[in-house]
């Protein structure tokens, strides 16, 4: 089928990247220009990366507003900003939004944009499937949030939505239905993109780019894709059962009928623990690129970094029940999971030590990106340590469901994941947009964020140990909770200020860009292939597919050892960087079908909840679009010459065309 396309990404004999317009089915074949419509039909991995990034940032604001509401409610005892019911919805949607609609798609933005660039490819293996992933993700995200408007409120069962709280009896609004179906839609998106990116990584590396020469960011993103590939089906099963229980009266989570509420907990956390690595590994990858660059040293212990990443990827499957120490899983399970959890800290510790060793004796340059990266290491270490305290089951019995847990996971997720990805944003901004983010504003934003973050989540350790439980909508006076709660709320406002500064930075740096010298291909003296091509990256990425000779290929084109064994510069960037001027690169044609397929899915979702006829319409739309897609050639037929008949040796397009005729 042409859904599964072959990628025609070599230089063709033609001399134009554009394709003639041609009516095809209902849509006019899109052309790949620069207007807004072209964003709807784009299959360019860079644009899709940007779409992911921008949408993720939007949902960061949504989730952030929800966080601020939580903090305003808890700022003082007996808060009355939110009712108990709304409070439950707000913290649930906050968690769901931050995890599934902010940090995962932001990581997806990095995967899409940088995996092909770092392995020297012109696009991903399946460009249209890539577009499909994004549109499905966006449709799922919008679907999930419409439950505020049409579902009688958001889900109110916490982001892990334990049974039996998730049942109709305890959660009668449609919020949980939106949760169950919305997350399934998001899961399809991630599944499609993980298959796509795994194939890209394994199959599209430039000549010489062996696995052990791949940049660490790409490695960590690859491991993340494998985790997604295997973790998503597990939560999909859980959500599927939940959906059947709620909408079609199945008996999976009905204890009265003999069902086991722990089934949900197991399925959820078998997904859920790998999920935390899905969140953190991309940030680890970013940090592993930023720190060597600004230390002017190769990453210390590359092999250890890669293998500890792989080890985390494997061990992450054997620790899930540490979330269930108090669920009555029995002493043997508790002991076993307690031990395995302690062990998983080892590869993580290896990584931290390697980053420190990379900086050791390096020529450090503290740009904003570097500051974020170093802060990531520091904050993540704090979160990792409190994690080890949870692994001691007796201690965890005291900590679980208190604010100490909330402190822990924010140190790892926010302190590790979010700060890490912000390091990446500052680092690669000039590559993506062709101008720097303002360092001075960035500096302010960084310090305010760091202080605000610690002020928000540091005190939660104390509150938790004092016994303040999480997910309570308010607390009484006189337990000693007042001071630190107020501190946390002030901290969260500081984080908000920092985010506003960041947005201002985005606007201002774009406005200032014309008056400043452009960053050029390689502003930070980088090490990996994406710095060998112009900023912003031309549509076809590489004029010539690079030949790779070792790790840090781009660095070694610029530097070499001289006779005395000292590293000296052997070429300037201007001499060795690609110009981006190649013409006639044969690119995959844009398509509207991925968007059309994606539109059908939320219709199915609404239909399941409200009216099955609507589900039928959605299903028909999706199926029709899939077929139209399959029948649409990968490349515009007008770009073709005659094919099928005779010898094709001399015709590059020939091969590409057959891809489109597969089905």
């Amino acid at each position: 089928m042409a859904i599964t396309e072959k990628t025609p990404l070599e230089l063709g004999p033609g001399d134009s990247v554009r394709y003639a317009e041609r009516p095809l089915g209902v849509f006019t074949r899109p052309q790949g220009g620069r207007g807004w419509r072209d964003w709807l039909s784009t299959v360019d991995h860079k644009r899709i990366g940007i779409l992911y990034g921008v949408s993720a940032m939007f949902f960061f604001l949504v989730g952030g507003v929800e966080a601020l509401l939580i903090r305003l409610q808890l700022a003082a005892p007996e808060g009355s900003v939110l009712s108990a019911d709304v409070y439950n919805q707000v913290y649930t949607m906050h968690g769901v939004t931050m995890v599934f609609l902010f940090i995962m798609p932001l990581a997806a933005a990095f995967s899409n944009y940088f995996i092909p660039l770092q392995i020297g490819a012109r696009d991903v293996a399946f460009p249209r499937l890539n577009a499909l992933s994004f549109w499905i993700w966006l449709s799922g995200a919008i679907f999930l949030n419409t439950s505020w408007m049409v579902g009688g409120g958001g889900a109110d069962c916490g982001w892990f939505c334990y049974s039996t709280n998730s049942g109709v009896a305890f959660s009668p609004s449609h919020g949980v239905d939106f949760y169950a179906i919305g997350l399934q839609i998001l899961g399809i998106a991630s599944l499609v993109s993980s298959v796509n990116l795994i194939v890209t990584c394994l199959n599209m590396r430039a000549p010489g780019m062996t696995l052990m020469r791949m940049p660490v960011l790409t490695w960590m993103l690859l491991i993340t894709q494998f985790l997604l590939l295997f973790a998503l089906p597990v939560i999909t099963v859980a959500l599927f059962l939940l959906m059947f229980d709620r909408l079609f009266d199945a008996q999976f989570f009905n204890p009265d009928a003999g069902a086991d509420p722990l089934l949900w907990q197991h399925l959820f956390w078998i997904f859920g623990h790998p999920e935390v690595y899905i969140i953190i590994l991309p940030a680890f990858g970013v940090v592993s690129e930023v720190i060597p660059t600004f230390s002017r040293k190769p990453l210390f212990g590359y092999e250890f970094m890669v293998f500890s990443g792989i080890a985390i990827g494997f061990m992450g499957w054997g620790v899930w029940a540490h979330h269930m120490f108090v669920s009555g899983i029995g002493p043997i399970s508790v002991a076993a999971f307690s031990l395995s959890t302690m062990f998983i800290a080892v590869p993580t510790g290896v990584k931290v030590l390697n980053w420190l060793a990379t900086m050791w004796g390096g020529k450090l340059r503290f740009t904003v990106a570097m500051k974020f990266a170093v802060a990531t290491v520091a904050m993540f270490t704090i979160g990792g340590l409190s994690g080890v305290t949870h692994s001691v089951a007796p201690a965890d019995t005291q900590q679980t469901d208190t604010y100490y847990i909330v402190a822990h996971f924010h140190y790892v997720i926010f302190g590790g994941g979010v700060l890490g990805l912000f390091a990446g944003i500052y680092f690669w901004w000039p590559k993506i947009w062709g101008h720097f983010l303002n360092e001075r504003l960035g500096n302010w934003s960084f310090w305010i964020m760091l202080v605000g973050f610690n002020l928000t989540f540091g005190p939660m350790h104390i509150l938790g140990l004092q016994g303040m439980s999480r997910r309570i909508d308010t607390y009484a006076r006189g337990y000693g909770f007042e001071f630190w709660n107020m501190a946390a709320t002030v901290g969260s406002l500081l984080i908000a200020v920092s985010v506003v500064l960041f947005i201002w930075n985005v606007v201002k740096s774009k406005r200032d860009a014309p008056h400043l010298p452009p960053p050029g291909p390689d502003p930070w003296d980088g090490r990996t292939l994406e710095w060998s091509i112009p900023s912003p990256v031309p549509v076809h990425n590489f004029d010539t597919v690079p030949q790779v000779h070792g790790r840090d290929e781009w660095w070694h084109t610029k530097y070499a050892e001289n006779d005395e064994g000292k590293v000296v510069r052997v070429a300037t960037v201007e001499e060795v960087a690609q110009t981006g001027e190649a013409t006639g690169v044969h690119l995959p044609s844009p398509s509207f079908w991925p968007l059309a397929v994606a539109v059908g899915l939320p219709l199915i979702g609404y239909g399941l909840i409200f009216n099955l006829w609507l589900a039928l319409i959605g299903a028909l739309l999706t199926i029709a679009s899939l077929y139209s897609w399959a029948l649409e050639p990968v490349d515009d037929p007008d770009a073709a010459h005659d094919h099928h008949e005779e010898d094709h040796e001399d015709d590059e397009n020939e091969d590409d065309q057959t891809g489109g005729h597969d089905s």
């Binding site: 599964t4 998503l232 199945a250 399925l267 597919v545 089905s663």
Partner: protein
Amino acid sequence: MSAEAVTADLGHAADEHGHDEHATTTGLSHTKLAMWVFLGSECLLFGGLISTYLLYKSRGNGRTLPTDVFDIPFTSVSSFVLLMSSLTMVLALSAVSRGEDEAGRTWLLATALLGGVFIGGQVYEFTSFVREGVAFTTNPASSAFFTLTGFHGVHVSLGIVMLMSLFVASVKGKLTQRNAETVEIVGLYWHFVDIVWIFIFTVIYLIPAD
């Protein structure tokens, strides 16, 4: 650095390995690799559902269990039919890759038909279970049973849709020796669904509830 020259080279390297494919790092085509990766994910999906059933198989809530109404001889026959469809799938692939389009079409159709018979059997099985008092909402065991086998049935049905699409493509002359790989990839999916059924049949039907 002549861009044209470099890629022309790449192009020829690709051509030596077979005309349809551009050189890939692993030598496997993107599509085939993607199917393998996807099937890896499917294993966990079925794994989750099978575990759910195993956990719940004896939880009848005082009502009839699926194990009480299984008709093993009947299901054995329909399982055999499904297994045979794997054979015809292999024959379809070998015919198409030898360029025998006519035979290829016949075997594709046969595979789809056998799959259809299996689905028919499942529909019959489901309705007779419901008549005997084991419906989707009867108890945790029945919910788990219908979800697992129904989910598998949906997979078989999707496979049938793919087979029929191949058949139509072949009729239109769009499925030839050159893209025999497409048949191979659909075949991978089809065999996978069969193997999963062998699992389900042994674990679900042959192991009694306690």
